[in-house]
């Protein structure tokens, strides 16, 4: 029993950290641009297929999918941002409009993946990320999990440093807090947002590289559930805060694994029940700040 | 008119996240009276209004209005009893026209409001159809006041309605508030501009750091050393 518990917790931590990475890009894009990126999961999948392509067609280590994700985010994100976001922002209700627009985008990406790669799942060789196991507390987990968790922590930490320690990051947070005032402060709102948008996509793609390891495979149909789980995680942690998202991921990961150990068929409930309970107790999420209304 | 107080605050206290914003607040208001509420920024004036109007709940003490305790009532219930307010930061219904803003309040309070008269009072006659979103901040504040008047209040809480107005406009507002008071409506007026308050009332309460440090006439207040340091500064 004890061993199972420990195993579930260690596994949950690793899995949860990884899911922090899955969700953090969504958080950034939502926080800065108030864009409900319904295509988030599809961008994650694109990252997964990128890694698959790197590994199968180029014969490289799938980790080369990480720089590829960054490159892809620039190539896709930059024109995409300027094509849709300023227009959205000028509209009356950008948040809601983005909902439809990115729903359409999700359809397009899904279709392109299906046409390009076919409908079936793809996996990556374990050996590429080590193939052995590493133990903590006597609990062995595959190397790939540790690599995924390590990269996730680094990426989220990097994002946190970016947001809190760099001028651009600071400007990014200012835009999240009050877009109009950010303009009035002299921040190049469009440039900073475009960068945030690209970073958000790159993080989604980077998470995708590890999806074949943590989820067994990557296929075109899983975008929706990745998007919804990500939304749950980011709201658990609170909008705008990457560390909050990491924490949200941990809560989700450990919760799911414990549930899976003891009541497997109910484990799907975990993120949702946690989310509902947490926002009812703390309406601004675990890491959010309240502001006054009168 | 009876001289029973229309409003009584007894030992009212409020804090936000460990910060004591108000403590031991006691005062009374007579029917038809205008009370000035002054104090440095952040001293708790808006908080007093929030507690009376029900936007926030006090942690301790009681608030009586018209003979009944009201601190447990919802804000809309207090509006029906006859309490209303304006907001320091205007809060109109920005997707609606000026007229609709007032109509909505009149309808839900069940008060048979004379809308043209109110529009005239707040200086928005001729702008009935203008969307509230395109009013200036000051016009929005006036619209807020109009919305409050439309509910037929007995007690009106006015939060810094004069901020950002020029002397001519201030005189106009002072006249308006006096006219309103003359209809038998009691008022608490939060304001920093002494000339303005002076036109309205002689009785003021001075808050500082959440406590009442002075209660009496405006004239006396400007000689009270504590009030002078906290509120008037060297300019007094």
């Amino acid at each position: 029993m004890q061993a199972l518990l420990e195993y579930a917790i260690v596994g949950g931590v690793l899995y949860g950290i990884f899911f922090g990475l899955v969700a953090v890009g969504l958080n950034l894009i939502f926080g800065v641009m108030r864009i409900i990126n319904l295509a988030h999961g599809e961008f994650v999948i694109l990252g997964g297929f990128g890694a698959y392509w790197v590994s199968h067609s180029l014969g490289l280590n799938p980790l080369w999918g990480l720089p590829l994700a960054a490159l892809g985010a620039v190539v896709i994100g930059f024109p995409l941002y300027y094509a849709v976001v300023p227009g959205l922002q000028r509209s009356r209700d950008p948040e809601m409009l983005s909902f439809i627009l990115f729903f359409g985008l999700a359809q397009i990406i899904d279709a392109i993946i299906s046409l390009g790669f076919g409908p079936d799942q793809r996996s990556l060789p374990d050996e590429a990320l080590g193939g052995g196991t590493i133990s903590v507390l006597g609990q062995a987990f595959p190397d790939s999990w540790w690599v995924a968790a390590g990269v996730s922590v680094l990426a989220i930490l990097g994002l946190w440093l970016y947001l809190t320690r760099t001028r651009l990051g600071f400007a990014t947070r200012a835009i999240m807090a009050n877009r109009d005032e950010a303009y009035a402060t002299g921040i190049s709102v469009d440039k900073v947002s475009a960068i945030a948008f690209i970073i958000g996509l790159a993080l989604a793609g980077a998470a995708g590289v590890f999806v074949p390891y943590l989820q067994g495979s990557v296929g075109p149909g899983i975008g929706n559930s990745l998007t919804t789980t990500s939304f749950a995680i980011l709201i658990i942690g609170s909008l705008g805060n990457p560390v909050g998202t990491l924490f949200g991921g941990l809560v989700f990961g450990v919760g799911s694994m414990l549930m899976q150990t003891f009541y497997a068929s109910w484990s799907d409930l975990v993120p949702y029940v946690l989310l509902v309970v947490i926002v009812l107790v703390r309406p601004q999420g675990l890491f959010g700040k309240a502001v006054r209304h009168a | 008119m009876s001289s029973e107080p229309i409003l009584t605050l007894t030992n009212v206290a409020k804090s936000f996240g460990g910060l004591q914003v108000l403590s031991d607040v006691n005062f009374e208001l007579k029917p038809g009276e205008i009370l000035g509420l002054v104090g440095p920024n952040g001293s708790g004036k808006t908080s007093v209004i929030n507690l009376i109007s029900g936007v926030h709940q006090p942690e301790a003490g009681s608030i009586r209005f018209d003979g009944a305790e009201i601190q447990r009532l919802t804000p809309h219930a207090r509006v029906k009893l006859g309490i209303n307010r304006s907001f320091q930061v205007p809060k109109c219904f920005i997707s609606m026209s000026v007229r609709e803003n007032i109509e909505v309040a009149a309808h839900f309070s069940g008060h048979n409001a004379d809308i043209p008269a109110i529009l005239d009072d707040i200086g928005l006659t001729g702008m009935e159809a203008t969307p509230a979103a395109s009013l200036t901040a000051n016009q929005q504040k006036m619209l807020d006041l109009g919305r409050a008047l439309a509910t037929g209040p007995k007690l009106l809480l006015v939060d810094e309605i004069g901020a950002g107005l020029n002397p001519a406009e201030l005189t106009g507002i002072a006249d308006l508030l006096k006219r309103i008071a003359a209809r038998g409506i009691s008022m608490i007026v939060v304001e920093h501009l002494m000339e303005f308050l002076n036109k309205l009332t002689s009785r003021v309460i001075v808050l500082s750091a959440g406590k009442i440090i002075f209660e009496g006439s405006l004239e006396d207040a400007s000689h009270d050393p504590e009030v002078v340091t906290a509120f008037f500064g060297g300019a007094a």
């Binding site: 009050n178 002299g186 309240a290 | 936000f16 996240g17 002397p167 001519a168 106009g172 300019a235």
Partner: protein, 238 residues
Amino acid sequence: MSALLEVDKVEAGYGAVQVLWGCDMVVNKGETVLLLGVNGAGKTTLLRTLVGLQPCRGGTIRLAGEDVTGLGPDARIRRGMAYMSELGVFPTLSIAENLRLGAYGSSNAEARTRAEAMYEMFPALAPKRRHAAGSLSGGQRKMLGLAKALMSGAEMIFMDEPSSGLAPVFVSQVIETLKGVIGGGTSLLIAEQNIAFLELADRGYLMDHGKMAVSGTRAELESSDAVRRAYFGVGAEG
């Protein structure tokens, strides 16, 4: 004295509504100019247009001789403008972070020194420096907004009603502070209704229905009938 800001026949508005109808204005280096006008005259709109938050539909705006009409607010602010809006702060950021953003273009060290000066100027903010700006009272927000604008160290600062909602004790402090700022060679364009600010001004403009109705030195304004009518009301005390 050379002109720092030259505004030539500027037009602006919101959607179908035109608000500014050919505004002309000059602010010289080191000068303090007061912008007067009744409620809704277009003061806020003019300031927003000057700093680039509102598109300029006609006319030109020059800063230190350079045409900045087509530039975005970020570019204008980089060239030495700053703007204090009526109510704006970053509600979810702390006071300290708000101040730091005020000095967005400056180095950390510089920002730190200026921030300390601001806490001294507005002692009410000091104990709350780690709190979210969204928790401040109306007047405290105003102070923060003002402090934020002053943090920029810009050459040309636009202020929209810096004193409204401030207690008398702070109004006089603000005026003292601004005197110091003016002494340092900064140009100010202040939309303000508090007569006390007249003592700061070198010159002023009176706006009426989106046009410049009157302009002149302080003395000229004080004796202008139009100003007296608009500002003090007919037959009111002088």
